[in-house]
């Protein structure tokens, strides 16, 4: 492999949008938890695809279609390698994390969930990992059980063990919490679930760009993530699933590509991965995802993890001294973000003023209303980091918060 890219200025220079000014101030982009910015290589891959390669994939005999198919299927192999899946057909392209969870809720649910069964989630899940299960439970007469969290925003493993029962059919939990930053001990939790033959889905949306993920080492049954939070395009994501489970599951959507043969009497479904990929997929999104993985590999997770951990530590040490600032989520193992509230100042107000200063943070409930209710806050201010963020930007955030405090 060529030499790794570890100079922040060089990394930043690859992101055209970071040159922008917002409200007359240089952009400080700290909303990476919502979506990351895209490097030139991803933008070029997308643009080049439409300029030179565009064609519909699979079954086309002409050159362009063959080339597009190979390019798209190469990305599947790249993803396989990236998450160390056993087979490339265990990589299902989806529209994103939400799409992946809905696919499993629908197809796994159709095949395996009966009346009276239980699905276990945690109290720190994103709405995307709550609502599809609620909908499934409603359809099947199943029950959604919720593992509580501590005031630090952590899971209690003993409590977890207690909630797993003979009726638990699936456990779905977040790898890294989007509103608290908590890194859950998913390996241990999967092991505990497997001792009772219960499959586990991991929502990796906030983990995939921060930490290396090895689905075989984790022994995850399903692992879902989005390209757009890992420097790739929006509208594309991945559902990793173990071959055996995916084979047993009912198809998701019906349409082209997911079939072997169709008559009005009977349709034979296609093999993996196509069985779950009805219709023309987001081909260019997949191409962009491939470029995003190349980008991450060109830096390496050693650097990414060290840099982001350093930024988080620095942010906590700087923000801690601000009077009236309270962190929401103080788990021992945390990744990539700080979430906080300011005494007597609404997160919305904080966000509006920070935006005027060119600082993009996220405010509100972060699609985790149960978490906000638990901490009894209307929302939080969240600064989430990516590999291109700098300590100077954290300093600007701290200065911005000082300004906010003076104004209110």
């Amino acid at each position: 492999m060529s030499e790794l890219l570890t100079d922040i200025d060089v990394i930043r220079a690859q992101f055209p949008i970071l040159q922008r000014e917002i409200n007359g101030k240089p952009l400080v982009y700290l909303d990476n938890g919502a979506t990351s910015q895209k490097p030139q290589s991803v933008i070029d891959a997308v643009s080049n695809y439409y300029s030179n390669e565009n064609s519909n994939i699979h079954r086309g005999v002409h050159t362009l279609s063959q080339e597009a198919t190979s390019a798209y299927e190469e990305v599947r192999k790249k993803v396989q390698k990236f998450i160390n899946a056993k087979h490339s057909h265990e990589v299902i392209f989806t529209s994103g994390t939400t799409g992946g969870i809905n696919l499993v809720a629908s197809s796994f649910g159709e095949t395996f969930i009966k009346k009276g069964d239980e699905i276990l989630i945690t109290a720190m899940e994103h709405h995307s990992n709550i609502v599809p299960w609620q909908m499934l439970c409603e359809r099947r007469g199943a029950k959604l059980k919720v593992l509580p969290i501590s005031k630090e925003g952590e899971i209690d493993i003993e409590e977890y063990k207690k909630l797993i029962g003979p009726k638990t059919e699936l456990i779905s939990l977040v790898h890294v919490s989007n509103s608290l930053g908590t890194i859950n001990p998913i390996k241990e939790m999967i092991e505990i679930a497997h001792a009772q033959d219960i499959p586990v889905l991991i929502d990796g949306a906030q983990a995939i760009h921060h930490t290396p993920v090895d689905v075989q080492e984790l022994d995850a049954d399903f692992y879902v993530f989005s390209a757009h939070k890992m420097y790739g395009p929006t509208g594309v994501g991945v559902l990793y699933g173990k071959e055996e489970l995916l084979n047993d599951m009912a198809p998701y959507q019906g349409g082209g590509d997911m079939i072997k043969s169709v008559t009005f009497e009977k349709t034979i479904y296609n093999d993996l991965p196509h069985k779950f990929e009805a219709g023309t997929p987001n081909i260019v999104g997949g191409i962009g995802l491939g470029a995003a993985i190349d980008f991450i590999n060109s830096i390496g997770f050693d650097f990414i993890q060290a840099h982001e951990a350093e930024l988080s530590r620095f942010a906590v040490s700087q923000l801690r001294d601000i009077k009236g600032l309270r962190f929401i989520g103080t788990a021992k193992e945390r990744a990539g973000l700080v979430s906080f509230v300011l005494d007597g100042i609404h997160p919305y107000d904080t966000g509006v003023i920070l935006d005027k200063l060119g600082i993009a943070v996220r405010t509100g409930h972060h699609c985790t209303q149960p978490v906000m209710n638990f901490f009894e806050v209307p929302g939080t201010v969240r600064a989430s980091f990516a590999v291109y963020n700098t300590k100077q930007e954290v300093v600007k955030l701290v200065e911005g918060i000082d300004r906010v405090k003076r104004m209110f």
Binding site: N23, I345, H346, P347, Y348, D349, G351, V352, I353, K356, T363, G364, H365, P378, G379, M407, F408
Partner: protein, 146 residues
């Protein structure tokens, strides 16, 4: 051209804001307006009167006196509340028809348009819609007395 009462009030606010040189001054003024007084009595802060924005919450109460609509409103976010106080200043005490017809262009002129964008999800867009719906309901009532 006849200048309506709403337009008069809008003009007053535009002049008031023209004194400020930059966004900081403007926002400090709005924050001041937001802080000035609780616009709605606590007992009216009920779920019935709550308009849920994704970012901030807004309460709105309306009543009719002498064929005019009077609004009181509130929010948990101060900037939202400051803008509410401007909207209430303009719309409260006007006739239903005037309220229904106004386009509140003054918000744009004083540089606060972004707060009335649906993407802000601060509850303000829904609040303005609700104010107009109240006005419409009151007008219907006035035209068709029981």
């Amino acid at each position: 051209m006849v200048v309506t009462k709403i337009e008069q009030k809008e003009q007053e606010i535009i002049e008031e804001f023209s004194l400020f040189e930059d966004w900081m001054d403007r926002y400090e003024h709005i924050i001041g307006l937001g802080k000035e007084l609780p616009l709605i009595a606590d007992e009216l802060k009920t779920d019935d009167l709550l308009i849920k924005g994704c970012q901030s919450r807004v309460w709105l109460h309306a009543k009719v006196e002498d064929s005019k609509v009077f609004f009181t409103a509130d929010s948990d976010a101060i900037i939202t509340k400051g803008i509410i106080s401007l909207l209430v200043r303009v719309l409260s005490g006007q006739t239903p028809s005037e309220i229904i017809e106004t386009d509140l262009s003054f918000i744009d002129e004083i540089g606060l348009k972004e707060h009335l964008s649906p993407t802000r999800s601060n509850g303000l867009v829904s609040m303005v819609k609700q104010m107009k719906l109240y006005a419409l309901a009151f007008r219907t009532q006035q035209n068709n007395p029981l």
